[in-house]
Symmetry: C3
Subunit: 113 residues, 3 copies
Amino acid sequence: MNSLTLHPMKEIRIIIQGEHVKFATDLLDSVKATGYTIIHNISGKGTHGLHSAHPMFNEMDSLVMLMTIVPPDKVKPILAGLQPLFDRHTGVMFVSDVSVSRVDHFASPSGDR
Amino acid sequence: MNSLTLHPMKEIRIIIQGEHVKFATDLLDSVKATGYTIIHNISGKGTHGLHSAHPMFNEMDSLVMLMTIVPPDKVKPILAGLQPLFDRHTGVMFVSDVSVSRVDHFASPSGDR
Amino acid sequence: MNSLTLHPMKEIRIIIQGEHVKFATDLLDSVKATGYTIIHNISGKGTHGLHSAHPMFNEMDSLVMLMTIVPPDKVKPILAGLQPLFDRHTGVMFVSDVSVSRVDHFASPSGDR
């Protein structure tokens, strides 16, 4: 593989309360996402009355952003796996297109991509 | 709405000095962006002589990255609203495509999208 | 230039160990990237046996995310310049599409874009 080639992948960012990071990283392990980055020390806010009825983020929350890069076929399993968390707690998942160097780092050896 | 569906939206990131966060969040409130995330503890630098003539970021700046997800029609109002800030202070705004779970969290109930 | 126009550019994010930031910022200077943002206080993990054989990130690493916005023609030189670092150390580079306000801040005065 030419190490100077960039490979199209999907970037997933998950913003959740710090106490639920293990749930999310266990999920990433289970779908064989091969790594992740955590950005600490973020804060978030939901506005316009979402606080009380359908809270997204409370200003008091200790939030983290969990970021991972996966082949496209892993997006749906990760979203499905997060539903039990999103059904009961604040949080959101973003997906965007990204190209990466070192695709070998992101494709699980046991994956079927 | 199927909670497993991902919805195309726009991600806006605004990098500004910490002292101007309230200006930006007030703007997001006024256009009914329904939430945002702030990444603290970042640093930035502008190079190649931009410091003196047309500074982007000074190494001494305390910077924050304000991130929000909005329907596409809110991008222009936000950019326009930031112009008075950008005219006088350092800062920049990025826009990128993103898909989100829980689109109900990002679409203002009073919005016209 | 209309300051309300958004300009297509490339966002580059480089996740590396803190001790290698100067190597990367010197590279960005050499290709005349005109600024960058550093997100500190992140952590990363490589999983599924990658630690021992082909480590991406060790949990003990002090990582930083270096982010810059460049014209498309600067992506390849930056990736090529990082290869000596990636050959010997953990790290990865992501590229994504982004639109920016204030394109004058990102286009080097001496660049040939």
